[in-house]
């Protein structure tokens, strides 16, 4: 018998995850969307606010959308105060989440390197690091030799097409096991008495004046005191039903995974210029994200040339990956806002709250936004952490522009 492979054993799941109840006719809070954000919101509604007459409506299977499809990177090293505020709050919750949920979520704080390849990358990186430090987010600028120490397989040779000039490093960043996180939230919410309703598609809303009175679903009409929209890429489908215009566009975003490999990649590496972001998961597979497909799409698949480009970037930055094998590709649907920051808060309907536009940041924000949105719903007032992300910033021009400034997606 050979010795056990590192990572061969995943932690066991609990024997009981959630009930599969029939929907009741009425709830105090209806959360549309049973992904990470919806489930986390449900958990924090129960845990922090004692609100349990809640339904989470999911049109497919729980956490089957972006939650099941993302590359699980967790970090909070965003540029703007507003962004690092919500993401850092989230990261602090991640740090206690395993205990909170009683679920082994494989949260691994292995650090993230954001590589810089051009002089402008360096300027942007230093700007972000310095801002992070002043905001209390752990961050540092590291030179190429330090990059090599943190992740020896990065090609730090100076004669490649876009040499690595350094990187930002956030040691507390990391990865977690996405399904386990979602299921952990779901289990706690279900235990608290919140109904998780799968195969339940919202087909419309009933309204009275500027209030929504309930949702129409494929499993019948359900009355609602407050409604929270947590449908990520499908947000526009819901807001169209309500006649609310929201400036998000849904795009395919692909990811891929290799077969299981002995550990070679101890951290998370992201690069914008040589577009790649990669980590090696617990079991040993390389997990990578590709670029966003340019056009609007709800198809949960993308074009293969994007994967090919991704592979070229991976082999360029990590030459030893040459004979790793692409095992599986898939796609999610990201909802991207004009300033690449989320849209959270009030809508023209006084009892409907919006939570969308997270683009590629949704997974890492999961506990943070669940916590803040639950607070918002419980107090009927946007929590200060989400207040800057209101819909009306597009009217005033007070954007939180992570496009131009941070220049680091995902």
């Amino acid at each position: 018998m050979s010795p056990r492979i590192p990572g061969a054993d995943l932690p066991e799941h609990p024997d009981a995850l959630w009930r599969n109840p029939e929907p009741k006719r009425s709830y105090d809070v209806v959360i549309v969307g049973g992904g990470g954000h919806g489930l986390a919101t449900a958990h924090y509604l129960a845990k922090n606010h004692g609100i349990t007459n809640v339904a989470v409506l999911e049109k497919g299977w729980l956490a089957g959308g972006n939650m099941a499809r993302n590359t699980t990177i967790i970090r909070s090293n965003y540029l703007w105060d507003e962004s690092s505020g919500i993401y850092e709050h989230s990261l602090k919750l991640w740090e206690g989440l395993e205990e909170d949920l009683g679920y082994p979520i494989l949260f691994s704080q292995r650090g993230v390197l954001n590589l810089a390849h051009t002089l402008q990358d360096v300027r942007d990186s230093v700007r972000r690091v310095e801002a992070n430090k002043l905001n209390g987010v752990d961050a540092e600028w590291v030179e190429p030799d330090e990059v090599r120490k943190i992740c020896p397989v990065v090609n730090t040779s100076t004669d490649i097409r876009y040499p690595v000039l350094g990187a930002t490093y956030q040691p507390r960043a990391g990865i977690a096991k996405h399904d386990y996180v979602a299921w952990g939230f779901a289990r706690r919410a279900s235990e608290a008495g919140i109904d998780l309703i799968q195969d339940c598609e919202v087909t419309g809303f009933t309204t009275q004046g500027d209030r929504v009175t309930g949702v129409r679903t494929s499993r019948g009409d359900i009355a609602a005191g407050t409604v929270a929209l947590c449908a990520a890429g499908h947000t526009s489908v819901l807001t169209d039903m309500l006649g609310i215009r929201v400036p998000v566009q849904s795009h395919p975003l692909q990811a891929l995974v290799s077969e299981l490999l002995e550990p070679v990649h101890p951290t998370v590496v992201m690069s914008n210029a040589v577009h790649v972001y990669v980590s090696q998961a617990h079991k040993g597979e390389l997990v990578m994200g590709a670029g966003v497909d340019s056009y609007n799409g709800y198809g949960q698949r993308g074009a293969f040339h994007i994967i090919e480009r991704q592979m070229a970037a991976a082999v360029e930055l990590f030459p030893v990956f040459a004979r790793a094998h692409l095992l599986r590709t898939w796609g999610g649907i990201v909802d991207v806002s004009p300033d690449a920051s989320p849209i959270v808060g009030r809508t023209p309907y006084e009892n409907v709250y919006l939570n969308c536009g997270w683009g590629t940041g949704g997974f890492k924000a999961t506990p943070g936004i669940g916590w803040a949105l639950a607070h918002t719903l419980a107090h009927d007032e946007p929590h200060p952490l989400v207040a800057p992300f209101s819909l009306d910033r597009f009217v005033t021009g007070a954007l939180v522009d992570e496009h131009g400034a941070a220049a680091v997606a995902h």
Partner: protein
């Protein structure tokens, strides 16, 4: 070195040649035509590895890519992880070892070559088995452009595993004829060792050809090791066959347990016996062929265990004639053995009840639970699958445009049927393409099939023992069992996707080729719902794993991304320039002289430009010819300032904003004629600005009579900069009056040098007297050298982008993209003077009126001077309010802005910076703090123009 399990004759191996290889440190032999798996089996070795989680011995259980057992690592000639022994073709010098589910990457770069080829066909046939060959022949004979790809080393598909006859001759003779005929058709591309791994829209199929892997160290270095074929087919025929499905029973994972057809493949194709004593466990007729073939080859077939109550009367008779015992209404309930099966436990099976087991010794147990059509490519094409209750499998459930499934992949399991289906499907495909089948396209004949007895759909042998459920393996690669599925269902999971994720079934190297349908079936059984309702998890590309480097193809190393260079590039290299990447361009950053570092070189270059004369290759600047009667109208709409009032012969600086009012580019505009402008953009903005112009002209203002043409590479551009630039330019172009009066600032003149047109422009990005020299790149090297010669008396000094940046920053000229970040307006840059108040509208104007744009706390561009006169502020540094005690308060610390540009100034004899600071212009004279490496550097806020604020130097 012995190969005791090699048959005396037969098989498609070259017995005259012996290959040496090493597995797990043992030296072994095989023959050309072997796979690693067949060579191991010939030596009597079934076990290849141990399992990932439980450490259980695992062996070869299938003869191709569906094998969940035989994972190996190749070490020589070059390390490659996670290959299947069943798909690695044997070559001399192969070194490999078994893998417990996790591979090892090489620690050196892969020097092999990889590439891609685009190919266009009328009909692409995937799979060169009977259906695929008939389809390819039919299309070829009709004169169509055809590609036939097949993943094996030779054509034949399932025919390679048996003893069938086609057209009255041995099937493989027919295959050879078919292949020869295809080779005679000039429009046919026939590729073996080529796996179609992904189907995309509009008939786009990606296929991986393994060109040299089977040659080992003898592979030619100049030929790509693997090639991705990007095939665009008007019609696709998927003839990918079917995978045999196992039946789950306790301890079904031991080495020596293999799929029934795999045993036939090893026997007929490779001349290898899988063992000496065999038990065959089946739910259908097909496995009887394996029993009969093995018996004929001398294997002691202990029993055929048929789960069906009545078995197959006809096949039973054949077995009896061959002396093989058939146990109908029986199942295998378990096995014994450690590194190899030693016996099967066989029990009666009546009305779903399993009786007491008896032990049948054996060293190989063949299993067949029926057939799963290989619907992967159909499903990737988003074809809907239908559960077929008779087959117990998912089959194509609808017709797709441009993609049809033929033969076993469509659920047709007999040879004659496959041949006919291949013809039927290709004819329909040709008909849709309006291609007429050839008159001589004849369907080959095969023996009339015997109607088989109905198969039994049996996912797992019923077993009430919980302990047994933990060794009823569903996914061998993940060590996932029936017990795991039962736990998942018990935990509340209903979706097959949840079950997969809970158990990890189907996520390993084989992506569930054998385990997927079993999981659907067992889950449905446990939930008490129809299998159709459970469905399958999604089939996603690639069909089989593909090396990263193969997908990277040629885009590696220096070809990863194009390097754009100017006409002077070779000169810059020879001059020892250090380059900077600016977009795809390579630009000289500075030209160090021996012993100089960047700082010294840049101080020297700056001093030359400020006190003598410098020259820079500015050819990368974007240049756009805007021509037509409405050229000025267009520019007025796109620039914030007025361009229509510009006189012919003059030059104006301009700023361009997006509709959101944020600066997107800047540059100078030369009016060449009433109806013609030359627009200069930033290097990075060249393509963006041209696209921007085209977008507005084509989509919003098609009535404008104007055309925009890129002339970036039509003009080499050399700014000659410094107080002595007039001398240099005047010397080289004596016919031009270069005096301030005759050639004022912000004007241009055309001249010629030896008959070659040259344009001179009095534009300055440094504040110094300067002339931009524009000339065709054909003559760029010659003119550059003439300028250097003319400048030699004045010490003309070539300088790079770093010096250019220092010079412009000293003058407070922003670099768009460095001093701006997409959130900066012209007003923020202190360029209200460049924003027309006369024009009723221009792009961006309306956004200036939004509330956030009126905020006095907006960030504005200012200068910074470190009070200590020596600290160089790192670009990107953040700025905070001055703190008297020198200690930052606890986070979050409010930030005022950040340093956008920072340099040492030869002119000022101190470092300086540009910065975006909240309410910055109101704060000129204030002292603020910049945290640098843990200390707070006091910095004075100044105006953005630090050198020559009066602009006295621009005329020299």
């Amino acid at each position: 070195m012995s190969t005791p399990f090699r048959t005396a004759e037969g098989g498609r191996i070259d017995r005259a040649t012996t290959l040496q290889f090493t597995f797990d440190g043992r030296s072994l032999t095989g023959h050309p035509g072997d796979t690693l798996a067949s060579a191991l089996l010939a030596s009597g070795q079934h076990q290849v590895a141990t399992s990932i989680r439980l450490g259980r011995p695992r062996g070869i259980s299938a003869a191709w890519a569906e094998d969940p057992g035989g994972l190996v690592q190749v070490e020589e000639p070059f390390p490659e992880p996670m290959l299947l022994a069943s798909t690695v073709e044997l070559f001399d010098g192969l070194v490999a070892h078994g893998l417990p589910g996790q591979g090892r990457l090489a620690d050196v770069p892969d020097s092999a070559r990889y590439d891609a080829v685009h190919h266009h066909v009328d009909v692409l046939v995937v799979g060169a088995g009977p259906a695929g060959l008939v389809a390819a022949l039919g299309a070829a004979r009709a004169g169509a452009r055809v590609a036939l790809v097949d993943e094996q080393s030779e054509a034949g598909g399932s025919l390679l595993s048996g003893t069938d006859r086609v057209d009255g001759v041995p099937a493989l003779d027919w295959v050879a004829d078919a292949v020869a005929e295809l080779a005679r058709h000039p429009e046919v591309l026939h590729l073996q060792r080529t796996t179609a791994f992904g189907v995309y829209d509009d008939g786009f199929v990606l296929a991986l050809e393994r060109r040299t892997d089977h040659l080992g160290a003898a592979a030619p270095r100049r030929v790509s090791r693997q090639r991705v074929w990007r095939i665009r087919a008007r019609s696709i025929v998927v003839a990918t066959g079917a995978h045999e499905r196992p039946v789950v029973f306790a301890d079904n994972d031991r080495p020596g347990i293999m799929l029934a057809r795999a045993a036939r493949t090893f026997l007929h194709r490779y001349g290898v016996l899988p063992g000496r004593e065999a038990v065959v466990f089946t739910t259908n007729d097909s496995a009887y062929d394996a029993a009969l073939d093995l018996a004929r080859a001398g294997v002691q077939v202990q029993a055929v265990v048929d789960a069906r109550p009545a078995g197959s009367p006809q096949r039973r008779a054949e077995c009896e004639r061959a002396g093989i015992r058939v146990l109908s209404g029986s199942v295998v309930t378990g096995t014994e053995g450690v590194e190899r099966i030693t016996s099967a436990l066989v029990a009666p099976f009546t009305d779903g009840e399993v009786g007491a087991a008896s032990v049948i010794p054996c060293d190989v147990l063949l299993v067949s639970g029926g057939w799963n059509p290989a619907v992967h490519l159909f499903s990737q094409a988003r074809g809907r699958l239908r559960y077929d209750e008779v087959l117990g499998a998912f089959v194509p459930g609808e017709e797709l445009d441009g993609l049809a499934v033929a033969g076993s992949a469509a659920g047709v399991l007999d040879l004659a049927g496959c041949l006919a289906d291949g013809q039927r499907v290709v004819r329909a495909a040709l008909s849709a393409l309006a291609i007429v089948p050839a008159a001589d396209d004849r369907l080959p004949s095969a023996p009339e099939p015997v109607v088989p007895a109905a198969p039994l759909v049996l996912w797992r042998v019923p077993d009430t023992s919980e302990a047994h459920a933990r060794t009823q393996f569903v996914d061998l690669q993940r060590d996932a069992t029936v017990a795991d599925i039962a736990r998942a269902v018990g935990a509340g999971l209903r979706s097959i996707e949840h079950v997969k994720r809970y158990t990890t079934i189907g996520t390993a190297h084989d992506q569930g080729k054998t385990s997927g349908v079993l999981t659907s079936g067992i889950t449905a059984e446990l939930l008490g719902i129809p299998v159709q309702d459970t469905g399958t998890t999604t089939f996603r590309p690639p069909y089989t794993p593909v090396a990263f480097a193969a997908l990277a193809g040629r885009d590696r190393g220096r070809l990863f991304d194009p390097e754009r260079v100017t006409a002077l590039h070779d000169w810059h290299v020879a001059a020892g320039a250090v380059f900077e990447d600016v977009g795809q361009w390579k630009r000289p950053r500075y030209y160090p002289q021996p012993g100089e570092d960047m700082e010294t070189a840049v101080l020297r270059e700056c001093a030359a430009a400020r006190t003598g004369v410098g020259i820079i290759d500015g050819s990368t600047l974007g240049k756009i010819d805007v021509q037509g009667p409405d050229a000025a109208v267009l520019l007025d709409r796109l620039y914030t300032n007025m361009m229509s009032s510009l006189k012919v012969g003059a030059v104006r600086y301009g700023v361009m904003c997006g509709v959101d009012g944020m600066v997107i580019d800047d540059g100078t505009v030369l009016r060449l004629a009433e109806d013609r402008f030359l627009v200069l953009t930033t290097t990075g903005g060249a393509a963006k600005v041209l696209d921007w112009m085209e977008e507005w002209v084509q989509t919003e203002w098609p009535d404008l009579r104007v055309h925009c043409t890129s002339v970036t590479e039509q003009w080499a551009t050399f700014p000659v900069v410094g107080p002595r630039s007039r001398d240099v330019v005047g010397t080289l172009f004596p016919d031009v009056d270069v005096s301030t009066e005759a050639f004022p600032f912000m004007t241009w003149r055309d001249t010629a040098l030896d008959g070659v047109p040259v344009r001179l422009a009095r534009i300055s990005f440094s504040g110094e007297l300067a002339f931009e020299v524009h000339v065709s790149p054909w003559y760029a090297v010659a003119v550059w050298q003439r300028l250097l010669e003319a400048g030699r008396p004045y010490g003309i000094t070539p300088y790079g982008t770093e010096t250019m940046h220092v010079l412009r920053a000293e003058k407070g000229y922003p670099i768009i993209g460095q001093d701006t970040d997409g959130t900066v307006t012209p007003h923020d840059l202190g360029m209200a003077w460049a924003v027309s108040k006369k024009k009723p509208d221009f792009i961006g104007k309306r956004s200036f009126a939004r509330p956030a744009n009126q905020d006095p706390r907006r960030k504005q561009l200012v200068g910074l001077l470190p009070v200590d006169r020596h600290t160089l502020l790192p670009e990107g540094s953040q700025i905070v309010e001055f703190v008297a005690d020198g200690e930052l308060p606890p986070p979050p610390v409010p930030m005022l802005g950040h340093v956008t540009s920072s340099y040492r100034s030869a002119e000022l004899a101190r470092p300086f910076a540009l910065a975006l600071v909240k309410g910055g212009r109101e704060r000129v004279g204030d002292t603020v703090h910049v945290p640098v490496n843990g200390t707070l550097v006091p910095v004075e806020v100044t105006g953005s123009v630090l050198v020559d604020p009066e602009g006295a130097r621009r005329d020299g």
